[in-house]
């Protein structure tokens, strides 16, 4: 079987849902004739026609608002943000309209808002952001961050079928760098379930998105020195797999929280709170965070390299923690 890239997996996931369920449609800037800036919607216009693959004006808030309206009428819109950074322009519609309808008046808003996030491609401050926490902090939303082609496909399908609004951040660095063989059946990855990427006994690394590869590489290096990392990929941040987090900490008693997002207010904080409240007695060392620093994402390669968490960071911190 051929290998499927991460980006192609997303495309397949949306495509299959559109084939199966005529309520599903996509909308966004340049998703039609151009097939999307990253080609996630390539070929869809030809297959599904202009009213299911809708090129929109440059109106992120309008796009999400339109999706909400259609969703309230029973449709299943998948709205693309050309870069996840531009979701800032739709922040109000997402956090105030979409997120709160069910709570307020029992109306489901089954929209998906998706877009490419993350750095590593020298995109600079406005084409590299990791906006997940703005939405994780908003009850009523769900937030997913797949790291593998399998999850990318399984989670986009789950997101489309979900009765609530799902924000789906795909990591652009992984688009064509990550591939795998995918099963041919109609699978989904449930939202809210973490995956163990590496079973280990010494230290748990909890992470998501592109950072799982950093963790896994570090694990390989550390293996040589006899340090055995356990790598947990959260996959979903809201809701996240509280149980899997606690289990893995209870097993290794030491934990590193790793993410590409900036530190202050990042997801590592939430995890630290959960762990230090619910697994306090199991901790044999401080909870260590490895994250981007508290700056915008810089552009120039040496700056961006400094900004992004690295294998060497994980190796260093793991050694310290191991020795603790």
């Amino acid at each position: 079987m051929p290998l499927t890239t991460y980006v192609e997996a997303i495309r397949q996931g949306i495509w299959e849902e559109m084939e199966k369920d005529e309520r599903v449609f996509v909308l966004g800037e340049d998703v039609g004739i151009y097939g999307g800036a990253f080609k996630v919607t390539a070929g869809m216009l030809e297959r599904f026609g202009e009213w299911r693959v809708i090129d929109t004006p440059i109106s992120e808030s309008g796009i999400v608002g339109t999706a909400i309206g259609a969703a309230l009428m029973g449709m299943r819109p998948v709205a693309e943000m050309q870069f996840a950074d531009f979701i800032s322009c739709a922040f109000d519609q997402i956090t105030n309209f979409a997120a709160k309808c069910r709570y307020r008046w029992g109306a489901g808003v089954p929209i998906v808002v998706r877009g490419p996030s993350g750095g590593g491609v020298h995109g600079g401050p406005f084409h590299s952001q990791n906006p997940e926490m703005y939405f994780v902090h908003t009850p009523g939303l769900k937030v997913v961050c797949p790291a593998t082609a399998y999850d990318a496909k399984g989670l986009i399908k789950a997101a489309i079928r979900d009765p609530d609004p799902v924000i789906y951040f795909e990591h652009k660095f992984l688009y064509r760098r990550v591939k795998e063989e995918l099963p041919s059946d109609d699978f989904v990855v449930p939202i809210g379930k973490a995956a163990i990427r590496r079973n280990g006994t010494d230290i748990t690394v909890i992470t998501y998105g592109a950072m799982i590869y950093i963790a896994l590489e570090a694990a390989k290096e550390l293996e040589k020195e006899g340090i055995d990392l356990h790598v947990l990929d959260l996959r979903s941040l809201l809701p996240f797999d509280n149980e899997a987090v606690l289990e893995s900490v209870k097993k290794t008693n030491k934990v590193i929280l790793l993410h590409e997002d900036t530190q202050i207010g990042g997801f590592a904080g939430e995890l630290a709170a959960v762990i230090s409240e619910q697994a306090f007695e199991y901790l044999d060392g401080p909870i260590r965070r490895i994250t981007a620093p508290n700056t915008p994402v810089p552009y120039s390669p040496p700056l961006e390299e400094f900004f992004l968490p690295k294998v060497s960071d994980v190796v260093r911190v793991a050694r310290e923690l191991y020795a603790y």
Binding site: I54, S59, I68, G69, A70, Q93
Partner: protein, 334 residues
């Protein structure tokens, strides 16, 4: 008039609506007026209303005139001065009153307050406070009708002030580009809270904005329910027939403060006097009496009926339970 947009001033209606509709109009306007009177001037002052109160006194013709002829499967996106829309669409007095009193039986089961009511089964979309946010949402609703080949329409309401919001711009523009069946209805009551129109925009009419989006803009006397009905009827027909969106500006006036705790000291008193004379309900009553559709005693009788209905609903709603504290945790997700 500064623009050449097609249908700018509503003609006086050539065809009157049928008698039943005329009497419905009167009923719903008077019901709105009385209900809001009770809420703002009685229950609020008795401390029975939870939170703020915004009423549409003097603006009743707008929601009632535009919604009265909708079909069951049409959809309405009201804003905070459109009580008539909720009533016409069949939300019960008790549900509304319970909503204002924050009871479990209210439209949002105590989760949200006052006019923030919605009910999909009645084609009513609950607005959020962020003004103008309902405009792209209405566009999306209409888009779903168009893409599925349904001849349903959606009506979207907002005030003059909301037209300054970016979401208003994005939503109207997309509706016009997609040519979807939505009718945008602006109650231009000439103030946004304390801010008069000329501090909000450098044009005279909201309808002047229509041209920027390539959709027809129409100005009507918002205190003349027949004018509103006529313009809305034509716009709804156009939308149903695939002709795309319309923007209707209803000139009116807010006959109260912005909310129950605002004395509107910033409004020149002459303005209230001027508009009091143009009250949409007494005007319409005169019209109906002149044409013999109703007489004085019929009107009194109607008022008594309305009072009675509201009395009853208040009695029930007052006894309705508050939500259980733990309900707080329910319904964040499916």
């Amino acid at each position: 008039m500064k623009s050449n947009t097609l249908t700018r001033d509503a003609a006086s209606p050539v065809i009157l609506p049928p008698e039943k509709t005329l009497l419905d109009m009167l009923y719903y306007m008077k019901l709105t007026r009385e209900l809001e009177f009770r809420i703002e001037r009685k229950l609020y002052r008795q401390g029975k209303i939870v939170g703020g109160v915004y009423v549409g006194r003097g603006q009743e013709a707008i929601a009632v005139g535009s919604c009265v002829d909708l079909r069951r499967d049409d959809v309405v996106c009201p804003s905070h001065r459109d009580m008539g829309a909720y009533l016409i669409r069949g939300m019960s007095l008790r549900t509304i009153l319970a909503q204002y009193m924050a009871r479990k039986t209210g439209a949002t089961r105590g989760k949200d307050g006052n006019m923030h009511m919605g009910d999909l089964s009645k084609g009513l979309i609950a607005f959020v406070s962020m003004l103008g946010d309902n405009v792209p949402v209405a566009t999306g609703i209409a888009l779903s009708f168009k893409t599925r080949g349904q001849d349903r329409v959606t009506l979207c309401f907002f005030g003059d002030g909301a037209t300054s919001r970016g979401d208003w711009h994005e939503g109207i523009n997309m509706a016009s580009v997609f040519k979807v069946p939505v009718v945008f209805i602006c109650n231009n009551n000439q103030y946004a809270y304390s801010t008069p129109l000329e501090r909000q925009m450098a044009v005279e009419n909201i309808a002047d904005r229509a041209e920027a989006y390539g959709l027809p803009g129409e100005i009507v006397d918002g205190n003349d329910i027949l004018a509103v009905w006529d313009a809305a009827t034509r716009a709804i027909q156009r939308a149903r027939a695939g002709g795309g969106p319309t923007l209707i500006e209803c000139k009116t006036f807010r006959m109260t403060g912005h909310s129950a705790h605002d004395d509107a000291g910033y409004v020149p008193p002459e303005l209230f006097e001027f508009w009091e004379e143009r009250d949409p309900i007494s005007r319409f009553e005169r019209f109906l009496m002149d044409r013999g559709f109703i007489d004085k005693s019929g009107i009194d009788e109607l008022q008594r009926r309305i009072n009675h209905e509201i009395d009853e609903a208040i009695q029930i709603a007052e006894k309705d339970p508050f939500p259980e504290p733990e309900d707080c945790l329910k319904d964040v997700y499916y």
